[in-house]
Symmetry: C2
Subunit: 433 residues, 2 copies
């Protein structure tokens, strides 16, 4: 073994924190990533896996034999383990579950029953529960019997004999309370509680709105306490949600790995290019309708991309803004009309401004005042269509259950291309020929 390899092995197995090792793996191309992974000692794999993005972690776990998988799974928290197991073949999952203690297995099985994108999929089962009738002094003694408390414990959860949630006791409150007070006296009865079925995106909004560190999760039907969600897992949801729109608008997957191998990348990208090719051919078809006009006035061919492009840019500004507004839950029936009005007026004002500039430049370039008028009119028309489509399209797509970030930009481009070419070449055919 060379000196360099030994140094790398040393770095990967303790000299660097597991978070940094995970980051290093994520920033490496596939081949190097695999080589580095092989240099990590079995006993450290579990910790590194916890910090790896799910997509990459699952790949490594697929290559492990079951024995090693079982060993690794012991270092996981139940929620992280459940997330990963969801992506592994069922026979392997069964073997891993069979190797666990009854209590742990039941926890993980319960978590596996929830969708990864729900509160149940985000939650962990490491709650500290207390009963309402004991005193603060006894709570302290009870806690002292633990060796450690779970990370991010900011609340103790007060439950009834039948595991129903009665209240929460923040540690910050416990610590300032009279030791003789009972839990019931000092517990919070107004607190945020989450049902296991709540979508992850709503959980994230709730955490952001209420500035939570953790929140208890209950069963929606019988109201029993199931576990808790902590902010570290919610931060991942918030980042994914915020990135989702940008990636989708470029037709990229949410779990797009920057260093995916060539064939995987090619396939994913090919689909998006194919969809956009349809758009491009529709635009060409519209241009083809005016073959005769173009044949007579070649200046039109030179200028026509300007009209389409200005519409596309203006439209995608509106689209981006509305998609974000929808994601932040700011846009609803009450303000759609106002928003549409504003966008149409903004489109008209910017249309007038830039149409004037475009017309002036066109008149100078081609010394033809008629074409200048025509391109100005087409620009204004296209900017108005762009404003209307950019506003209403994402709202409509959302309503019919289609992701506006994914479908929005393709459809918008089709509209602005078609309207751009149609209005410019159409007006030219009427007034020039």
């Amino acid at each position: 073994e060379s000196g360099t390899t030994m140094q790398i092995r040393y770095l990967l197995n303790g000299a660097l924190p597991a978070q940094d090792v995970a980051r290093l793996l994520e920033s490496s191309p596939p081949k190097e990533r695999k080589l580095l992974w092989e240099l990590i000692d079995s006993k450290n794999e579990g910790e590194v896996l916890q910090y790896l993005s799910e997509d990459i972690g699952v790949q490594f776990m697929r290559d492990m034999d079951t024995e090693r998988l079982i060993a690794v799974s012991e270092s996981f928290e139940s929620d992280d383990l459940a997330d990963l197991l969801q992506h592994l073949p069922e026979t392997i999952v069964k073997e891993v579950l069979a190797s666990m203690s009854t209590q742990d297995r039941m926890r993980v099985e319960a978590l596996l029953s929830y969708s990864e994108d729900s509160a149940g999929g985000l939650m962990n089962t490491d709650t500290i529960t207390i009963r309402p009738n004991i005193t603060v002094d006894i709570v302290f003694r009870y806690l002292r019997r633990h060796n450690t408390l779970p990370d991010m414990t900011d609340n103790l959860l007060v439950v009834s004999r039948s595991d129903r949630l009665l209240g929460t006791l923040p540690l910050t409150k416990l610590l300032v309370s009279d030791v003789n007070a009972t839990v019931r006296d000092i517990m919070e009865t107004e607190y945020t509680v989450i049902e296991a079925e709540m979508p992850a995106s709503e959980v994230a909004q709730l955490f952001e709105k209420m500035d939570l560190v953790s929140a208890p999760v209950i069963d929606g039907s019988n109201k029993k306490l199931l576990g808790r969600i902590t902010i570290d897992d919610v931060v991942d949801v918030i980042r994914d949600e915020a990135e989702h729109s940008m990636l989708s608008m470029a037709g990229l997957d949410d779990d797009e790995d920057t260093f995916s191998p060539i064939m995987k990348t090619t396939k994913r990208r090919a689909v998006w290019l194919g969809v956009n090719l349809i758009t491009a051919f529709i635009a060409s078809y519209v241009i083809g309708l005016f073959q005769n006009t173009l044949d007579q006035v070649v200046a039109l061919a030179i200028l026509m991309p300007i009209v389409a492009s200005m519409g596309g840019i203006a439209g995608s500004q509106v689209l981006t803004l509305v998609i974000r507004g929808i994601a932040l839950d700011q846009i609803g029936a009450a303000n759609t009309r106002w928003l549409l009005n504003r966008e149409i007026i903004v489109g008209l004002l910017n249309g007038l401004l830039w149409a004037t500039v475009i017309a002036a430049l066109t008149a100078l370039w081609f010394d033809n005042i008629k074409i200048a008028y025509i391109i100005a009119a087409a620009t204004i028309i296209n900017l108005l269509f762009a404003a209307t489509t950019g506003t209403l399209l994402p709202i409509f797509l959302k309503k019919i259950g289609v992701d506006p970030a994914l479908a929005g930009s393709v459809i918008l481009t089709t509209v602005t291309d078609v309207v751009g070419f149609l209005s410019f070449l159409g007006l030219a055919t009427i007034f020039l020929i």
Copy 2:
């Protein structure tokens, strides 16, 4: 006063939590927003302001007289107040500061000296500090003397007589420790500490990586404890950072208010349209070089947008991926070459695939095999340029200190338009005419 107005007033002043009132204001067009704000009682304004996005909050504060501003500022935490004061005229800031107690004023003045985008600008001064030589029992008694502990207190900070940070004592550890142990025995000496000058984006990365709820902030020069940063403020940074790329790529401001008034919106958008108009005219200029060719073969005018559009789509996929990779700090000198290689190969493969499809459709449509070959070649050339530009451009822009998300898409479109038209019309001029 009508019944409806009374109902709204009731909702805004207590029936709805302040977070929901803030959300309602943010989701309202300017005029309605102002009317709603006027219905909120003075005594509740401070709380609502705390949850409002900064842009909107500052607008309301600008309209207040100084007396009201002083009253409102009393309900703020020092870090939030400092953030807002930064946007108000200096004379007003002085008056507000003069109204505060010496201790509070010194805190806020210290915070005002840091940039909003630094750790100092994010931090709060509400730390609970203890000395290392006392026992756990005394810590408990000390804490019990407080009426409340600050929100999100997960650590007590252990400091020397001269306010230097010696360690942290997590509440979860305090609660399980022997009451006779001293703080020095049980405190954590390996912990994350942040210097006040650290950029907010690095703070966010650190919080995500280390799963922190709060972290102490020290003065970089003398190492004295200044305050702490809590996850709720960091979550805002994480969301803003993740949204930044998407908004910038459409030429929108980070603090873009979905319901900005018409003139503000028009001006902001106009700049972006103007920049893109230059791009469009450059593309038109390139087309104009081939006026004679277009005059002879009108099919070229019909087909040319396809080549430019496929390049634009392929390029923006790469661009988006690389911009995200840079934001996540995954891309550096070590892997740029690999990434470029992959993108060129992916571009070539998808180029071959879609060039074949485009050529077949072209041959069918125009019954001209020569044009089919030419458009295929141009598509492949443009996809290769798109891959190279999409990869290297954002890395280069980042290196010279220009925001890749803002400048990247405009420059990329210019490249794919110019190369698309140039290669298609150029090849046609050589081989057709």
